[in-house]
């Protein structure tokens, strides 16, 4: 038996999703290697392989985590989710109060012994989605009730998003809409969802007001700058213009791997603007393929929901997928100047530490759910 077919038989769950993970990982290696050129010159004396190695190690570790979370029965997360959420909230408060500041945003905490930085919002996203999924599942029979179902769900959402927003508004908004999406799919009354949306806007308004008093913690100025440059300049701000040049340079088929010029110019070409680099090197074809992979993921989850019986599993899978695909779309939309500049990486593809690892864990949980649904379907067939 060849290794390939052995892996194939070992890996249960949705094989299309496995394939998506594998292809995204390959895309990631290719584009990160190309995009880290200038970073390699800056930090490693031109040793471009250094970043490739680092990224490969993190990606390998991430895929291992994917496999581990995949093997774990997802029901365990159900029980753990309240504790995870409490831990996440504590970490968020700690980060805001005294976390490490990188790129003038307070999003990270330093893990003492190992010395790596840890973006707490990555963990909080996962914890919140698990918790919301659990709550939707727990209250599914009376989900349209305001007091019993709606309130217990929205309070943690507002709290977590409110804590993430000061330093990382885009993540908070993304997470907020992910939860809205979950509640929408979880049959919460539409009026309540509109109410929650309203509350979210109120919270945002409060943050801006607070920003007057805590300019160091709440980055109101950044938000307004980015917003106004997006609104006023039809060509887009400085970064966006270069992203556009990159996309245009790529044409239909791209300039070929490693031949990006704009990577030298775009800020964080290995993360925020990696989609533009993919376009430059692999053209519209490459851009479309990348986009299609995420959309395919969404289709697979939709089909999974049609099969799933258990509300928690389905909700977890839906939540994580909305988050991943939503983040992917948001990242791409920045490069094509559809939305203002955000700092969101392209999940699985961008170079990153904790964000890559948590993306991998998310995929593991999705796969775990899909494995369960699959075995269930098999059993039903057997019966």
């Amino acid at each position: 038996m060849s290794i390939g077919s052995r892996i194939y038989s070992e890996l249960r769950g949705d094989r299309t999703i496995w394939m998506i993970v594998a292809v995204l990982a390959i895309f990631s290696i290719l584009s990160v290697y190309s995009a880290t050129g200038s970073l390699a010159y800056a930090n490693r004396g031109g040793n471009t392989e250094a970043y490739l190695m680092k990224h490969s190690v993190i990606l390998g570790l991430g895929l291992l985590l994917t496999y581990l979370t995949y093997t774990m029965p997802y029901t365990r997360y159900n029980r753990a989710s309240p504790y995870l959420l409490i831990l996440a909230i504590l970490l968020l408060i700690f980060t805001l109060a005294g976390g490490a500041e990188i790129n003038s945003a307070r999003r990270w905490i330093q893990i003492p012994v190992i010395g790596i930085t840890f973006q707490t919002s990555d963990f909080a996203k996962l914890a919140l989605i698990l918790f919301v999924a659990r709550e939707i599942g727990r209250h599914k029979d009376y989900i349209k009730d305001f007091k019993q179902a709606f309130l217990p769900i929205i309070l943690p959402i507002l709290l977590v998003c409110g804590l993430i927003a000061p330093a990382d508004l885009s993540t908070a908004i993304l997470l907020f809409f992910t939860c809205l999406g979950m509640m929408f799919v979880g049959r919460v009354d539409l009026r309540y969802i509109l109410l929650l949306l309203f509350l979210g806007v109120m919270l945002f308004g409060m943050l801006i007001a607070l920003g007057e008093f805590f300019p160091g913690i709440i980055r109101v100025e950044t938000w307004t700058n980015r917003m106004s440059s997006w609104m006023t300049d039809p060509d887009g701000g400085y970064q966006v213009q270069h992203a556009k040049i990159a996309i245009a340079n790529g044409g239909w088929f791209g300039d070929g791997p490693g031949s990006s010029v704009m990577r030298n110019y775009l800020p964080a070409p290995y993360s925020d603007f990696i989609y533009a680099i993919i376009h430059e090197e692999y053209g519209l074809i490459g851009g479309f393929l990348t986009l299609a992979l995420y959309i395919l993921l969404f289709f697979r989850i939709t089909s999974l929901v049609t099969k799933s019986q258990k509300a928690f599993g389905a909700m977890v899978a839906v939540g994580l997928t909305i988050l991943l695909v939503g983040q992917a779309l948001a990242n791409m939309a920045v490069s094509v100047n559809l939305v203002p500049v955000t700092g969101l990486p392209l999940p699985m593809i961008s170079m990153g530490g904790t964000s890559t690892l948590f993306t991998c864990i998310s995929f593991g949980i999705i796969l775990s759910v899909s494995k369960y649904v699959e075995t269930l379907a098999d059993k039903q067939k057997a019966n």
Binding site: S38, L39, Y41, A42, N43, G46, A100, E101, N103, S104, K140, G181, F184, V185, R187, E221, N225, Y238, Q239, Q241, H242, K244, I245, A246, I247, A248, N249, G250, G251, W252, V261, M262, N264, Y265, L266, P267, A268, P269, H279, G283, L284, G287, F288, L291, Y294, I295, F298, F299, T302, V305, T306, V318, I322, V325, L329, M332, A333, V336, N337, L338
Partner: protein
């Protein structure tokens, strides 16, 4: 509706939303890449990323002694990229305070530290990639700014951008300005800079650069970078001191005589190396400046200095002897009804050829030439002799735009050769030549008939290593017979001893040469109206017996203080020659050239006190006989009329010793060993000590005066 259906419908709604949004993204991408593609690609190519050339460091122009005549000083435009892609996360925020402090303290005090921080913060936020910190910073300033916090992490991590530029600098200011020349965009290259442009320029490098906001370019670290190759240095023959002397002398002459311009060239006889070349002219504003290289670029009618060529042609053809008698017709004659006058009135009828030359008689020389070359086809022989003196050839000096001499083709209609051409040509009219070309001819006479090519550049160097050497070039091994040359030199010496130049004779050394006073824009009008001014010149060499340097001085259109070469140009020649002698003691004959007696010098070290062994060593090494006496630790040198003796000197152990006459090393050794503190002033040997010898030792401070 079942629960499952409701979930599914809602899920499909989200799916549709996602797909629509994805379509939006893709359509947008197509729009950017295809519809607007050309626009963006153009922007990318032309405005944002380009392979641009990096200026190479231009080579130096060195004087003969290696001092810099022209060099390229690097200076820098220093900028900061607050959004450098390589800036490590957090570094900006960590260092911005101290960086702002450094900039506001050391570079630009117009903004406070806090204001600078806000400024940089706002630019970083705005995505700027190029913030000008300092323009035209010197190399030292650049090094200092480079050490600022954050900047010290380099271009990619620290966002520090230093773009080198080069400015041409002349450490000696205007010295040899025009000869050194320049290369400027939009104007013709001038001088050595122009002639050796390719050697000096080096090769520009290439680097991928991106445009930043305000039309500035920032280099991208790229493997395809081609380093610029620095230009090579050229070593000129210019002697800085002699050049300075020459310019000074010429400058004051042009100023005093209110002349249009002046030229002076000083050349080494044997090699043709030009040691000094000066051109002083008047600018439109009336200031004096090196405006044009007349020495090389202007061919004019030389006037009387050309008579040397004529007399040499007569001598070489064997037509005259120096002592032949000649009728000068009291300084006035006519050729074909054209009157020729001698420059200054005299009443000489009959005199010798030698005398006619010495007093620079136009009539005399013209009559001789007309007499011997005026018949039939003989003018051709005269012109051919002139040509054999290379007077019709450019020298090939390494300066662009050398004028070509104009010597008329005999009997040529095109050159409007007429019956009066030959006599006038013989005295330096109807012929055009540059000062340098004429000097080369005089130099050949001084050099025993060997004509060497005048040159300004002796070698090309790179990093102090010689790459190419330009050897002495002999243009003609013999421009005339030995006898002719010897007679020519005799005549030129005669001009100084008895002739037109005798007013500036000196006892200190002998020089030889010929004066010239030419009418500018000479027109032999019927009414004898003189158009234009005069050109005063003197060409010659020194010392007359063993010529080392040849020199020509030419002053155009003097308006004040005389018009004659002897009054206007000769003093400059003398000024230059005097100073050359002052700076070259080896050119004086040695008066007491005989072996010196051992004790002939008055500077014997009488009464010097020092270590016995040191004296022995020094005197032995210098081969000075001395009487060693009986050795001790210290001794004193005593000189009498016949011998040098070392006498024993005892230094008391318990009393302040006498150290007068000692060197400081010995005095310190002795005094400090006896517990005294020593203060010293002056240089040389101990002259005075502040404590009397024989005083009891108590660890006092003793002051020594050296002298």
């Amino acid at each position: 509706m079942t629960i499952k259906n409701e979930v599914l419908i809602r899920m499909y709604t989200v799916l549709v939303f996602v797909v629509v949004f994805a379509l939006f993204i893709f359509v947008r991408a197509i729009r950017i890449s295809v519809t607007e593609g050309e626009i963006w690609r153009e922007r990318g190519k032309e405005k944002y990323v380009q392979v641009r050339s990096i200026e190479a460091d231009r080579g130096n122009i060195l004087a003969a002694d290696g001092s810099l005549l022209a060099t390229s000083l690097p200076f820098f435009d220093i900028a900061f990229d607050p959004n450098s892609s390589g800036m490590a996360p957090g570094d900006f925020d960590k260092h911005i305070d101290s960086l702002a402090y450094c900039i506001s303290t050391f570079v630009d005090p117009s903004l406070t530290e806090g204001a600078y921080k806000d400024y940089l913060d706002s630019l970083r936020e705005a995505g700027k990639q190029y913030v000008r910190i300092k323009s035209n910073a010197s190399f030292e300033e650049m090094l200092k700014i480079q050490e600022f916090p954050l900047f010290n992490q380099g271009q990619y991590r620290g966002g520090f951008i230093a773009t080198p530029k080069y400015r041409r600098d002349r450490p000696f200011g205007l010295l040899a300005h025009r000869t050194i020349g320049y290369v400027r965009e939009g104007s013709k290259p001038v001088g050595l800079e122009g002639y050796f442009d390719e050697t000096l320029a080096g090769e520009a490098g290439q680097q991928l650069m991106i445009r930043v906001d305000d039309g500035l370019w920032k280099p991208i670290n790229d493997l395809a970078k081609i380093e610029p190759r620095s230009g090579k240095d050229i070593v000129t023959t210019i002697d800085v001191d002699l050049q300075d002397i020459t310019e000074q002398a010429l400058y004051s002459a042009v100023l005093d005589h209110e002349a249009d311009h002046g030229v002076a060239i000083l050349m080494e006889v044997e090699t043709g190396a030009i040691r000094a070349i000066a051109n002083i002219g008047k600018t439109r504003d009336g200031d004096l400046w090196e405006t044009y290289n007349h020495a090389v670029g202007s061919a004019t009618e030389p006037g009387s200095t050309f008579k040397l060529a004529s007399i040499m042609a007569l001598l070489e053809g064997g037509y005259v002897n120096l002592e032949d008698s000649l009728d000068l017709e009291k300084g006035k004659t006519a050729f074909y009804e054209e009157t020729m006058l001698d420059a200054s009135a005299h009443m000489l009828d009959s005199t010798s050829v030698r005398r006619a030359f010495e007093i620079s008689s136009n009539v005399g020389i013209a009559k001789l030439v007309q007499q011997h070359f005026g018949d039939g086809e003989k003018a051709e022989e005269y012109v051919n002799l002139i040509r054999s003196f290379h007077l019709d050839q450019p020298t090939g000096i390494e300066i662009q735009g050398e004028a070509i001499p104009y010597v008329k083709e005999p009997y040529s209609q095109d050159d409007s050769w007429s019956g009066t051409t030959l006599p006038w040509m013989s005295i330096g009219y109807e012929v055009m030549i540059t000062p340098l070309q004429l000097l080369a001819f005089y130099n050949a006479v001084a050099n025993g008939g060997i004509m060497v090519k005048p040159y300004l550049v002796s070698e090309v160097q790179e990093y102090g290593q010689t790459l190419e050497q330009f050897p002495i070039q002999v243009l003609s091994k013999k421009i005339a017979s030995k006898k002719t040359i010897a007679q020519a030199r005799e005549l030129l010496e005669g001009v100084v001893l008895n002739g037109t130049a005798r007013g500036y004779r000196t006892e200190k050394y002998n020089f030889a040469g010929k004066t010239g006073t030419a009418q500018l824009n000479y027109q032999r009008l019927k009414d004898r109206t003189r158009v234009g001014g005069y050109q005063a010149s003197f060409a010659g060499y020194f010392p007359a017996e063993n010529p080392k340097y040849s020199c020509i001085v030419l002053i155009s259109n003097p308006r004040k203080g005389g018009i004659y070469g002897s009054d206007v140009a000769l003093p400059v020649f003398r000024g230059i020659a005097d100073n050359v002698f002052l700076s070259r003691p080896d050119m004086f004959p040695v008066l007491n050239d005989m072996p010196k007696g051992v004790l002939a010098s008055n500077k014997m070290p009488d009464q010097d006190v020092g270590r016995w062994s040191d004296f022995e060593q020094a005197l032995t090494a210098l081969n000075v006989p001395y009487d060693p006496g009986s050795p001790a630790e210290f001794g004193v040198l005593l000189t009498d009329s016949v011998s040098l003796n070392i006498e024993r000197r005892t230094i008391p152990e318990d009393r302040v010793p006498n150290v007068v006459g000692m060197g400081l090393r010995d005095a310190l050794y002795i005094l400090e060993n006896r517990g005294l503190k020593v203060e010293v002033s002056g240089y040389g040997k101990v002259r005075q000590q502040s404590i009397k010898p024989g005083t009891r030792l108590r660890g006092q401070t003793i002051r020594l005066r050296l002298g």
